[in-house]
């Protein structure tokens, strides 16, 4: 079953790649003048980075706390 799904995905991907078309990833940015589109772009990139930053900082902080506790236990 899984192999069939993978096979179909590959076939559809291959056929799709034979007929490339240009698409707008963000419908809001279509036909906008350049400054607004640039604003949207930077905003999207900034907000995309945020979840990774938050999870990274919280995860890193928890990891650091446990590492420190382990070090103290060994001493």
């Amino acid at each position: 079953m899984f192999r069939q799904i993978v096979l179909w995905v590959l076939v559809i991907g291959f056929v799709g790649s034979l007929f490339p078309i240009v698409v707008d990833a963000c419908p809001n940015c279509k036909n906008l003048d350049e400054p607004i589109a640039r604003g949207f772009n930077w905003s999207i990139l900034f907000m995309m980075a945020m979840p990774f930053t938050v999870v990274g900082v919280i995860g890193g902080s928890i990891f650091y706390q446990f590492q420190r506790a382990n070090r103290n236990l060994k001493v």
Binding site: P35, S43, M50
Partner: protein, 196 residues
């Protein structure tokens, strides 16, 4: 029984309270990221900033800069307060907490007076995108400072009552984390809104 469970929680590598405050700060970061993202759209979408309709309005950069320094100092005194309680210097703890709270209040008073002046000049929440994003972004941070000051007053009350020691100081620690977060966020907003 309850006391021993509390002690057990505080002796873990990461106490429940600390984990809770980290999750809260994660949510706060996402809130401010959304607001900053909105600001970026408006700022980069306009070549003229402030827009022509608000060309006569100058944001008070110097006074706000001094205010920024005051807030950063309050972050340092809050850090010193935590150091004091870790070393069982209870009197120093109270002094640093009171000094920090006073600086936080001073920050809010100065910002409030700036807002009054800006409103008198015609910059209001309804006066277009420029006023709207300014008051929402800066106001959201001010509400957080106010929340931090209220929290700090509660911590000061408990410190006065002798509830904190070098063994048990989770209240001071979580308040310090929140305070330093609010302090660290402000320079980012200041440079973004006042200089971008």
């Amino acid at each position: 029984m309850i006391h021993s469970e509390l002690e057990l929680s505080e002796n873990r590598p990461l106490s429940n309270a600390k984990l809770g405050i980290l999750i809260l700060l994660g949510a706060e970061t996402m809130l401010f990221a959304g607001l900053i993202g909105t600001f970026l759209v408006f700022r980069m979408g306009n070549d003229l900033w402030p827009p022509l309709s608000h060309a006569n309005i100058q944001l008070p950069r110097v006074v706000t800069g001094i205010n920024t320094v005051l807030l950063i100092i309050s972050g340092y005194t809050m850090f010193l307060a935590q150091r004091a309680v870790q070393n069982d210097r209870v009197k120093d703890l109270r002094d640093y907490l009171i000094f920090t709270g006073a600086l936080g209040l001073l920050f809010l008073i100065i910002q409030g007076s700036e807002w009054i002046q800006l409103i008198q000049k015609g910059l209001t929440l309804q006066s277009g995108v420029y006023g709207g994003i300014f008051y929402v972004l800066i106001g959201c941070h001010a509400v957080h400072v106010l929340g931090a000051v209220i929290w700090l007053i509660i911590v000061i009350g408990k410190a006065m009552a002798g509830k904190y020691s070098s063994i048990s100081y989770t209240g001071v620690e979580t308040c310090t984390i929140y305070w330093i977060y609010v302090v660290a966020l402000w320079p980012v907003l200041y440079f973004l809104v006042y200089f971008a």
